[in-house]
């Protein structure tokens, strides 16, 4: 067997292990270890790597952000911030048709801004909003579906643990990825609100009414969300203001939410121990998957499978859009079975090389050259430029031909093909990351194994799972429509990057 064959054969073995309920991290570790031993003819290389690889994986500076964000998210659940957010949103929206459900979505979006985990967002907002929804006569399945969908905003709106992992796997800038996630995150919240207003019109009996409250009280409630804004502003502002790194931002956020929880009396000893336990379990789970994936991907890279696959896809001349659509569809289907983090760690090292060699034509060399040239010329013709040169440049811009090296030198700009390609590669990586993030999150609310559905449904004994399933399909539809929009218009995702960088 050649190394390449061993690499290819490792996929079915890995899949079988995973479907036999062997933990995903362990499966990848075992297959990676076995494969490495086979490829390198002995245990020497594999055991040698293990000497330092566990420690270096667990002590990687960019990964230290993960336990800090997890602790931050858990402290956030203790500080009464979820209640404040929900009360504020309810004041403004609650009296509308389906308004309490809309308020729950709004509060989830706000909570997502300080919590990087969907499960924590769903669980926390569920505790706060579910009793209220019931009280105002909202149907059981509709309420649970709303909260499960709202929970996914926890990870769509930065900070987001999944995005951190994606950034590390693809060597992209975490801050830029967070920035790119904002507009899609807000679109998600808006989409869910639209779904609610359609749903309550289709099934008027599924929502009750709630009297409006006075404006003074609404603003009083709004003022009470200041801790959320403070922490969010500090973390996000600090990262983009260049005051600190994303990891430091996570530390500031964890300290901030912990402090607020402590001030509100939510952080007593049992709660602190409980926070440690929850953080410990999720951290250990995530890092074991990261370790296994690192080992497996190291083995795969040695067999050159990702490279061969990328070459194969290119040589077949598939349309990039077709490939992208297939990958996203794959995530949607597998998301029904597997959790988002495992799926990203398992598949990104294979799919990303394929995507990054595809040409989506997001940028055009000629347009960028023309823009840069116009920018220079608008400030007046550069000194010493001959009339002939100027005419030739104007002609090139008008006819849409590439500028020559000579012309660019005269203008004092440097827009070469290499530079445009570099920027394009980064844009594609970020755009693809956001798309993947959305489709794997859809997996949290699709039957049969949507974790968010389970969490919320477990809180509400009276609602049957099947009712939740039925109602949640409306939200899944809105997710799919959003993915299609974002695929068709990449610049929706990239807009903040274009403005800020």
């Amino acid at each position: 067997m050649t190394a390449l064959e061993i690499g290819i054969a490792s996929f079915p073995v890995l899949m079988i292990l995973i479907f036999l309920r062997v933990p995903i991290g362990l499966s990848m570790f075992l297959v990676g270890l076995g494969g490495l031993i086979m490829v390198t003819d002995g245990t020497q290389v594999a055991f040698g790597r293990l000497k330092s690889e566990t420690y270096s994986t667990f002590s990687s500076y960019s990964l230290t952000i993960v336990p800090m964000f997890l602790l931050m998210g858990h402290f956030a659940t203790l500080g009464g911030m979820s209640t404040a957010l929900f009360k504020a949103a309810e004041g403004f929206l609650g009296h509308r048709k389906g308004g309490v459900a809309m308020a729950a979505i709004g509060a989830c979006a706000g909570f997502g801004a300080i919590c990087g985990s969907s499960l924590a967002t769903a669980a926390t907002m569920g505790r706060v909003a579910l009793p209220e929804l019931k009280q105002y006569g909202y149907a059981g399945g509709f309420s649970t579906a709303t909260l499960a969908a709202g929970g996914t905003l926890g990870i769509l709106i930065p900070p987001s643990v999944v995005l951190v992992i994606y950034a590390i796997l693809t060597e992209q800038n975490i801050a830029k990825l967070f920035l790119a996630a904002f507009i899609p995150g807000l679109l998600a919240a808006i989409g869910y609100v639209i779904v609610i207003s359609i749903y309550v019109r289709l099934y008027p009996e599924s929502a009750g009414t709630r009297p409006a409250i006075a404006w003074a009280e609404r603003f009083a409630n709004l003022v009470k969300v200041w801790p959320v804004l403070l922490v969010f502003g500090l973390v996000v502002g600090g990262i983009y203001g260049g005051l600190f790194t994303p990891t430091e931002g996570a530390a500031v956020g964890a300290f901030g939410t912990g402090f607020i929880a402590w001030m509100n009396g939510g952080l007593d000893r049992p709660n602190l121990v409980d926070s440690f336990m929850v953080t410990a379990r999720s951290t250990a789970m995530i890092f074991f998957i990261v370790l296994g994936a690192g080992f497996y991907n190291g083995f795969l890279a040695l067999t050159k499978v990702p490279q061969e696959l990328a070459d194969f896809v290119v040589s077949q001349g598939f349309s990039p859009w077709m490939v992208l659509a297939l990958i996203l569809a794959f995530y949607l289907i597998f998301g029904c079975l597997m959790d988002s983090l495992s799926m990203i760690l398992l598949t990104i090292p294979i799919f990303f090389p394929v995507i990054s060699v595809m040409d989506f034509g997001l940028l055009s060399l000629i347009d960028m050259q023309a823009d840069a040239a116009m920018e220079v010329l608008r400030n007046g013709v550069p000194e010493g430029m001959g009339a002939e040169m100027l005419t030739s440049i104007q002609e090139a811009i008008a006819t849409g031909t590439e500028l020559t090296r000579e012309q660019m030198k005269e203008l004092g700009i440097r827009v070469t093909e290499g530079r445009v390609n570099r920027i394009e590669t980064e844009y594609v990586a970020i755009w693809f990351g956001i798309l993947v993030l959305i489709v794997v999150e859809v997996g949290l609310i699709t039957p049969p194994v949507g974790m968010n559905l389970f969490i919320i449904n477990a809180m509400d004994r009276k609602t049957k799972m099947i009712d939740t399933y039925k109602a949640v399909m409306f939200f899944v539809a809105s997710d799919i429509i959003r993915v299609i929009i974002l695929v068709a218009f990449p610049f929706i995702t990239l807009l903040p990057l274009l403005l800020l960088y």
Binding site: L26, T64, A280, R281, S342
Partner: protein
């Protein structure tokens, strides 16, 4: 026995959590120091109170090598978190297919899985010990703080050894469960069987 192991795992998790919290404090202090240092270096402060500012910048600043401590500390914390994840079956797995298997098959699979997991954790601890010894031997130090790297590896090794012990214990528990057919440690997964 289970109480002891659970207590061990929980204590390790609390220890790891405390180290993580300390690192969070440390990072925040370092940021404040860095920002204040920048402020005292600014033109405004230098013109208002040059003497005071110059005295302040001598001792107010970022904590030297804070990220080295964060890296070493977080590595320890994660190793310390492993035992709890192990004993409470916290690892992510796909159970759609396995749910359809008969109970006996599932118990068998569970035994094999836990035994493999135990073997992997022992392997990790053993290799980490070898790594620690080689760092001890060559006396490598960290870049800025110049602390001995093997201290950091040794601390992590402690967590890895506890994880291996708990892993072996869980492997034994699942083996006994398979052969006697009596569940000893409930963790919610058996509920649906």
């Amino acid at each position: 026995m289970h109480k002891l192991m659970m207590g061990l795992a929980r204590s390790m998790a609390i220890l790891g959590g405390m180290v993580l919290s300390l690192l969070i404090f440390l990072t925040c202090l370092s940021i404040i120091g860095r920002l204040l240092n920048g402020a005292f270096h600014s033109d405004v402060m230098q013109s208002i109170a040059p003497g005071f500012s110059n005295w302040m910048v001598t001792w107010v600043g970022p904590i030297n090598g804070d990220f080295e401590l964060v890296e070493a500390g977080v590595a320890f914390a994660i190793f310390a978190f492993l035992p709890l994840c192990q004993i409470s079956a916290g690892h992510a797995a796909v159970d759609v297919v396995a749910n359809a298997f008969p109970r006996g098959v599932n118990r068998f699979l569970r035994m094999i899985t836990e035994l493999l997991f135990a073997a992997v954790l022992v392997l990790i601890a053993w290799r980490l010990a070898a790594g620690t010894i080689s760092k001890f031997g060559n006396g490598e130090t960290s870049f800025l703080l110049e602390f001995q790297i093997w201290w950091a590896l040794g601390a992590s090794l402690f967590g890895a050894v506890v994880a291996a012990i708990v892993g072996v214990y869980m492997g034994a528990v699942r083996t006994i469960e398979f052969f006697t057919g009596r569940i000893q440690v409930w963790d919610g997964v058996e509920g649906e069987q």
